[in-house]
């Protein structure tokens, strides 16, 4: 499916447009902010509501919330995209190999996925954070390592179906080895499911990061993310409710758009095959 056709599917264009706007705002927004996101300004206006000078208001340290929400958004979105990329690479490789080779290897590989799937992962990620320190790189790796499970399952299912197609037989007859077949014939045909999966994995990753940051285990000051901002805002919400409402709104809207986009794409790529694999 071409990109233009895809955008014409019902329920695709709207969330895609909103997401593009949020992304644009996160990238260029700080350039238009009255002060850098971490500039503390005690004298002027701390804890003020939204105004022309500070569209989202300021926090209790006098920092401009508009700049903070934009900069936090950069981080949250980057976490979503990068860790999804990690999950994508592991998940596709794992699922395609298991699905193509089949038999005992498949059973063993999928049993490993089942076992990992049954663990309460958020706790595990926190354990990793406690043990190895709160390095930002660990956040990416931890989230990617969690999210590849979904991807592997779905890719494997799709590979099982692909394996029975004639062009795979033709490739086998032509003398191609399993590695070459997986690389040249299986993976390129997975593009549909992979796009859907990636779209649904991004909000998951953003959620996990903001969960950790909310608890104070994720990103550390002076850097910030939407989760960390929601945490700050929740602490001061009696005095400065806008500190909670703006980051929470952006976080919620972004997640909603990604989820809606994922649903719509799944509908567009195929009616039913993918629907049963996820809640």
């Amino acid at each position: 499916m071409k990109l233009r056709e895809l955008l014409r599917q019902p329920g695709v264009a709207m969330p895609a447009l909103l997401l593009a706007m949020i992304l644009l705002l996160a990238i260029v927004g700080p350039w238009f902010a009255p002060q850098p996101f971490d500039a503390i300004d005690f004298e002027a206006d701390w804890g003020r509501g939204p105004s022309w000078a500070h569209p989202f208001g300021t926090d209790e340290l006098g920092r401009d919330l508009f700049a903070r929400v934009c900069v936090g958004g950069r981080l949250s979105l980057a976490v979503g995209l990068v860790s999804t990329l990690v999950a994508l690479v592991i998940g596709i490789a794992w699922g395609a190999v298991a699905g193509y080779l089949g038999g005992r290897i498949d059973a063993l590989m999928m049993r490993i996925v089942d076992i990992l799937y049954a663990l309460p992962f958020m706790f595990f990620v926190i354990l990793l954070m406690v043990l190895f320190g709160r390095h930002w790189l660990l956040i990416f790796v931890a989230i990617g390592a969690v999210n590849w499970l979904d991807m592997a399952r779905i890719v494997r299912g799709q590979t099982l179906a692909l394996r029975r197609r004639e062009f795979i037989d033709a490739a086998v007859i032509a003398g191609l080895g399993p590695a070459a077949i997986i690389r040249q014939h299986i993976v390129p045909n997975l593009i549909g499911v992979v796009i859907v999966c990636a779209t649904l994995s991004i909000p998951q990753a953003i959620l996990v990061e903001s969960f950790l940051s909310f608890l104070g285990l994720g990103i550390q000051e002076p850097a910030t993310s939407w989760g960390a901002l929601v945490n700050d805002g929740a602490r001061a919400m009696e005095v400065t409710p806008w500190g909670l409402i703006f980051p929470a709104g952006f976080l919620g809207l972004t997640l909603l758009c990604f989820n809606q986009l994922g649903d719509a794409l799944r509908e567009a790529f195929d009616g039913g095959a993918l629907r049963r694999t996820r809640g």
């Binding site: 089942d114 049954a118 309460p120 608890l215 285990l217 929740a234």
Partner: protein
């Protein structure tokens, strides 16, 4: 049925073992020991501490000792709460966490199934699309956003309910349970809607319609039972989701449950406490998944044979 249960158990036991082993060895792989501090201790004291906690033994023997302790429900001493054991801390938080978790599960299940059923009655209608958009929103707004917003609205603005704290009363449990339940409620509503809409397309439903049964009886008697199977199998992940959510909700509302100990432990690098909670919740999720699998097998014979 018995062989099915046996096969399921064959997954549950290795899972539990992987969980324990992975957590344990990760903990010992971590740079720095539990007694590292700013001041370096005299070597005799360090040796004494290491001997006291058996840190001088080879790793595999420590693992054996830890496993042996686990069998007795002993998760070791807490490094931060002096004189308290991890098991004791978990036991003191468990009733509170369980009460709120059970209330949230009940709410999520009843509310989710009801909303999903209403939406599935008229697939594609405005009501259906509206409800599903709300459900998707509920799924997208995490508990740590919902919880402060609930406090802001119902406790601070309207002053209907307490903003936090725990006295064992119902009023104190309402907002935390709702905050905890909402994402799961949304997920269950989406699942029910999908499965029920599919079930309502089935040929036996056409038969029921042809018999002239009223619509609500068709749904309640014929369509809902097969449609609830996916919901049943979602209860395992839902339980895990509730545990994860409880960490945040207990933190926000100041409820003395397991989740709050966990966060405090994590922020203070209290290794044994964090490990203990991970194992406790991990085991709980595994047991819960096992029970759900058994129930599923009992309800749907096809699963047992597969």
């Amino acid at each position: 049925m018995l062989s099915y249960a046996g096969r399921r158990l064959l997954t549950a036991v290795p899972t539990l073992f992987v969980l324990i082993a992975l957590s344990f060895f990760l903990m010992h792989l971590a740079p720095g020991g539990p007694f590292d501090s700013e001041r370096s201790l005299p070597p005799e004291i360090e040796a004494r501490l290491a001997a006291e906690f058996h840190l001088d033994e080879p790793l595999w023997r420590q693992f054996g000792r830890y496993l042996g302790g686990l069998l007795h429900g002993d998760l070791g001493p807490s490094f931060q709460y002096e004189g308290q054991t991890v098991s004791g801390l978990i036991a003191s938080g468990a009733p509170v966490s369980a009460a709120i978790g059970a209330a949230a599960m009940l709410l999520a299940l009843s509310g989710g199934v009801a909303l999903g059923a209403i939406a599935a009655m008229r697939p594609g209608s405005r009501l259906d699309r509206g409800l599903m958009l709300i459900a998707l929103t509920g799924l997208s707004v995490p508990s740590y956003v919902v919880a402060p917003l609930l406090i802001l609205i119902f406790a601070l603005s309207l002053a209907w309910l307490p903003a936090g704290g725990w006295d064992g009363g119902i009023a104190a449990a309402v907002l935390p349970s709702i905050a905890l339940a909402l994402p799961q409620l949304a997920a269950i509503a989406r699942l029910t809607r999908g499965a029920l809409a599919e079930a309502l397309d089935a040929p036996w439903i056409r038969t029921a319609r042809a018999k002239g049964l009223p619509e609500h009886l068709i749904v309640l008697r014929h369509a809902l039972k097969p449609a609830l199977l996916p919901v049943l199998s979602y209860l395992g992940p839902a339980a895990a989701g509730l545990m994860t959510g409880s960490v945040v909700v207990e933190q926000v509302f100041g409820i003395p449950g397991i989740g709050r100990y966990f966060v405090q432990g994590a922020l203070n690098r209290d290794y044994t406490l964090v490990l203990g909670v991970v194992l406790f919740y991990g085991a709980l999720v595994i047991v819960f998944n096992f029970i759900v699998d058994l129930a599923y097998g009992a309800l749907d014979p096809r699963v047992r044979l597969a």
